[in-house]
Amino acid sequence: MDKLFVYLQYPFVRYALIVGVLIALCSSLLGVTLVLKRFSFIGDGLSHVAFGAMAVAGVLNLSNEMIVVLPVTVICAILLLRTGNDTKIKGDAAIAMISVGALAFGYLLMNIFSTSANVSGDVCSTLFGSTSILTLSRWEVWLCVVLSLAVAAIFILFYNRIFAVTFDENFSRAAGVNADRYNLLIAVITAVIIVLAMNLVGSLLISALVIFPALSAMRIYGSFRSVTICSAILSVVSALGGILVSIAFGTPVGSTIVAADALVFGICWLIGSLKK
């Protein structure tokens, strides 16, 4: 316990906690919608795209990677979510194609144009987010705070419409609601969250942040509102717990958070089974 308070005096630990909690909150809010729309894997696909974009940014020697990564990921998210209904390449195949392709190109670029001595170390930390959350700059923290608050605010304001479009898109269209606009909104904020979350858990583990809390909450509750609130709480608790454990025991941040999420899912699954 004392050790913890000592650590909390360091600004980078406080930054990590703030950013971790905010990202966990945002990803869980959207997670419910994405899981229900059968887009659980979009997190994975988009994060690989972001990985590829990051490699490009690295090659171009940009000081600020976000300028490339965020727009590229947003565009891919729009393309992926749009193809949901009637296209030649079906949703899951499209996601798989883009995600594996981006991953391969990203790694290729990083290898060919490597600027650092330790390429595999760089790749590993981008994939698993090993330490980047503990090395955030003040500027990155502020960006993260602003973007997550914006995502949370948009989610709350459009909560009723997001629910309606998720539950029954055709009904919304028939009622004269512009469902495409809200699908686009969902796509854009998904991309933003994923780019943010790459700092936290790395691009291989992002799906866990998106789907675990939603699935856990769905085990226990039966209304959209309670599922959303519950998944937000579970996600924040797991992220806090994961970060603290990883600081105390020196484990990798991303995988510890995901392990905490998985543990919570196990508990929720048990509670859900006992309730029935």
Partner: protein
């Protein structure tokens, strides 16, 4: 002027017509049943009427104070809905989504409207229950209540009794019939031709032959007789 006037309509996918030369009208208080074999284009017609799909040619005109998005829609259940965590109250309230216009949250009147329609469908006691735990008949009533929130004048129902047992189907038909008597215009797609001729005022038969007219006239045609008999045989 009729609520809905369809003239020389052709519809289908990717420019290929699966149904053409369709003419019919729906007036206030009508109960129209659309019947036809599988694959004859019933659901496509429904989607075209709802503007979910563009017609290939022809026109659909709305009149008599009805605008195109004042139609309540009862869709066939989708895979997503079967395990969706949502309470009955949340789903019924989502019927008011078109009334939101530029607001973000539902007003007190809209919540009251949802409650009234739950009352009407006799599902008020289920309002906190989870949709996926309801029986098939109860789920249909929830979706009907939602459709009633979206529209006061006309409802489009797509195969509302699919998968329901006969007793529950009869109950649902009764409920729909009550709504029709309260002045709500009904357009229903149905496989169930015996129920169609029992409740409907008009029949639209689509397929290789097209027929539109009142139920009484339909029964006199050879087409109607043939289909009624075919169904009786298949029902044993």
């Amino acid at each position: 002027m009729a609520y809905l006037c369809v003239k020389d309509l052709s519809l289908g996918y990717d420019g290929k017509a699966i149904l053409s030369n369709l003419d019919f009208t729906v007036n206030e208080g009508d109960y129209l049943c659309i019947v036809g074999e599988n694959g004859s284009g019933k659901t496509t017609l429904m989607k075209t009427l709802l503007h979910l799909q563009q017609p290939i040619s022809g026109t659909i005109t709305f009149g008599d104070g009805l605008s195109s998005n004042e139609i309540g829609y009862l869709p066939q259940q989708t895979l997503v809905q079967r395990d969706f965590p949502a309470s009955v109250a949340e789903i019924v309230l989502s019927g008011c989504q078109a009334r939101l216009k530029n607001r973000f949250f539902y007003s007190r009147e809209e919540k009251k409207l949802a409650e009234e329609n739950m009352e009407r469908m006799r599902i008020s006691d289920l309002s906190d229950k989870c949709y996926r735990e309801l029986s098939g008949g109860q789920q249909q009533r929830v979706l009907l209540a939602r459709a009633l929130c979206a529209a006061r004048k006309i409802l489009l129902l797509d195969e509302p009794v699919t998968g329901l047992d006969p007793r529950v189907s009869a109950e649902l038909y009764g409920l729909i019939n009550d709504l029709n008597r309260q002045g709500i215009t009904i357009i229903m797609i149905s496989h169930d031709i015996s129920a169609a001729v029992r409740y409907a005022s008009h029949i639209l038969h689509i397929g290789s032959k097209i027929y539109f007219g009142t139920k009484e006239d339909y029964l006199k045609t050879s087409l109607g007789q043939y289909f009624l008999q075919a169904q009786e045989v298949s029902n044993g």
